[in-house]
């Protein structure tokens, strides 16, 4: 089982946000260019003699051409900017690019506009103004519009990004708190404690020395699980010591039904691990691998340092829960996976898989560089 529940939720969320943004974009484009059209029309009507040698229909046709071109070009900008990931840039890199885009965009816009009016509409050149001057004025006008469009576009994204990172920060804080709370709640399995106490009671008469030892082991485990809620990581050695105490207690209960195999590389002992991680994996292995089968089985713990990661494997007999373990299997491991991710980031992982028939391996991968 790969723990993906949260990821699925956020993907859905992201998709919904994307659709909302798409709608907003279409709305803004439509409104903006409509406003532009209305203003242009109004100014043309207000200044009838500015170029009175053009017919009204030609003026209208030129305006429609200009608006369509503007719309298409800004839309094209958006696609290019997405491809060149301008949205992720900061202002120092973005500002010259916006200027350049506006310069080139306006040139293209005006060039095509002129070609359209002169070429297709075959308008005569009005001698009142020189062509370069008129083109320069028109270009500057286009440049302002383009630059304004781009600035608006990026202002919106900057604002949205700030907003979202704030929300994400809060979400992370909340999930850290939740994970802490759950960790505190779930660390001590009451069923285990009371069964152990019951076995201890019997052991006092049967084997007093072993009983004294078991009391100490239970005390170690309880103390560790209560204290570890406050620590982000502990040396693997500490965790392993407590897991050994826990397994000794489980062996008091299960006797020959629980067999152990430990294979821990010495160079892993000082590496930082989240407290109760291995403990959770081992507890899970006993709960689903040993407890349900009358004949019991073997639990194997393997710890290896592999390059820049620590790899922990806990193997138990059993089958994977059908359909990815949405059942109670998930809860303990899901908490552990979440804690692992919060502390060590995306490089950390926790997976449950079946590597052989009737055998399940829980594997945690912990990056060594980050976190500690």
């Amino acid at each position: 089982m790969e723990v993906t529940a949260n990821a699925t939720v956020s993907v859905d969320d992201a998709r919904r946000r994307q659709r909302a943004k798409e709608r907003l974009y279409v709305l803004c484009q439509t409104l903006g260019w409509s406003l532009f059209t209305v203003m242009e029309l109004a100014s043309t009507l207000a200044m009838p003699n500015f170029d009175n040698d053009r017919s009204r229909s030609d003026q209208l046709s030129a305006l429609i051409m200009m608006v369509t071109m503007g719309l298409l070009m800004t839309h094209f900008f958006r696609l290019l900017m997405a491809r060149w990931s301008w949205k992720q840039m900061n202002w120092r890199f973005l500002a010259p690019r916006i200027l350049l885009a506006a310069v080139v965009g306006s040139l293209l816009w005006n060039g095509l506009g002129c070609a359209y009016t002169r070429g297709l509409l075959r308008e005569a050149w009005s001698p009142k103004y020189s062509f370069p001057l008129l083109f320069l004025i028109s270009w500057f006008y286009g440049f302002t519009l383009m630059a304004a469009w781009l600035c608006l576009y990026f202002f919106y994204h900057l604002f949205e990004r700030l907003n979202r990172s704030e929300i994400e920060r809060f979400q992370l804080m909340t999930s850290v708190k939740e994970a802490e709370l759950r960790a505190l709640k779930s660390q001590v399995n009451p069923h285990f404690i009371f069964n152990s106490l019951n076995s201890l009671r019997a052991l006092i008469g049967e084997d007093p020395a072993r009983a004294r030892q078991a009391v100490t082991q239970l005390a170690n485990l309880l103390r560790y699980s209560l204290q570890s809620g406050q620590l982000e990581t502990v040396p693997f050695e500490d965790e392993l010591r407590v897991v050994n105490d826990y397994l000794a207690l489980e062996q008091v209960r299960h006797e020959e039904r629980l067999r152990l195999r430990l294979d821990v590389a010495p160079d892993t002992l000082q590496l930082p691990v989240p407290p109760m991680l291995l403990q959770t994996l081992v507890e899970n292995a006993i709960k689903y691998g040993i407890s349900p089968r009358p004949e019991g089985g073997e639990i194997a713990i393997v710890a290896r340092r592999e390059g820049s990661v620590l790899r922990l494997q806990v193997t138990n007999p059993g089958e994977m829960a059908p359909n990815g373990g949405s059942s109670s299997t998930g809860v303990g491991l899901q908490n552990a996976a979440e804690r692992l991710r919060l502390i060590f980031g995306a490089g950390a992982s926790l997976r449950l898989r079946s590597d052989a028939p009737a055998r399940v391996v829980a594997e945690a991968v912990i990056p060594l560089s980050a976190g500690a």
Binding site: N195, L197, N198, L200
Partner: protein, 244 residues
Amino acid sequence: MKVLLIDDERLARNELRRLLEAFPTLKVAGEAANAKQAREQMAALKPDLLFLDVQMPGETGMDLLESLAPPAPQVIFTTAYDEFAVKAFELNALDYLLKPVDPARLAAAIGRLSARLPGAPAVNGAAPDLRGQLAAGDKVFVREGDRCWFVELGQIRLLESEGNYTRVHFGDAQPQLFRSLNAMEERLDPKFFFRANRRQIINLSWISGIEPWFSGGLLVLLKGGEKVEISRRQAQEFRDRMSL
């Protein structure tokens, strides 16, 4: 009274055995570590009382009870910590002990058991013949979801066939029993229970009214509000029985 201890942990069985030494009327006849062993031991030893762990590898204590042919044995449950099980017991005022077992609570549970059983502490007569007829005071174990009941046969108004299972109506509940209606019929006392039709058996002591029905049949009203048709074929026998 012969006792069978059922718990997957040897130490837990030992502890219980030691605690039971204080009760001379109880004799621990055997132990079982899982449901399969328990069934074998029950057949061999015919115990009067089970101490039964709820959580066991493979089949749980509840699964074991459900698999047994009625009547249900006398049971005191033991559990370490199981909210569901404890809730289920409380609903039915069944006896359960929390591990580690408090000797005072154990004494109270055994005291209640002796009071509940008719006659002397050496009760339940000889263990009932497994194929014999069930008495009205005998109990069956039924379960639905998290709830479970030890219900006296006398409290059951109606048994309805549902394939290989039988739905039993009593109180406000109608859970399923893991036996077929035909298998139940063989064991039920004909003085109280009557096969009304192919699908239903009624408890005669819960009848509140009888009406004539189509084509020579009868409609029987039960005190729980259920209405049961008696087929024409069975109606004559029913009249004979009721006029007795």
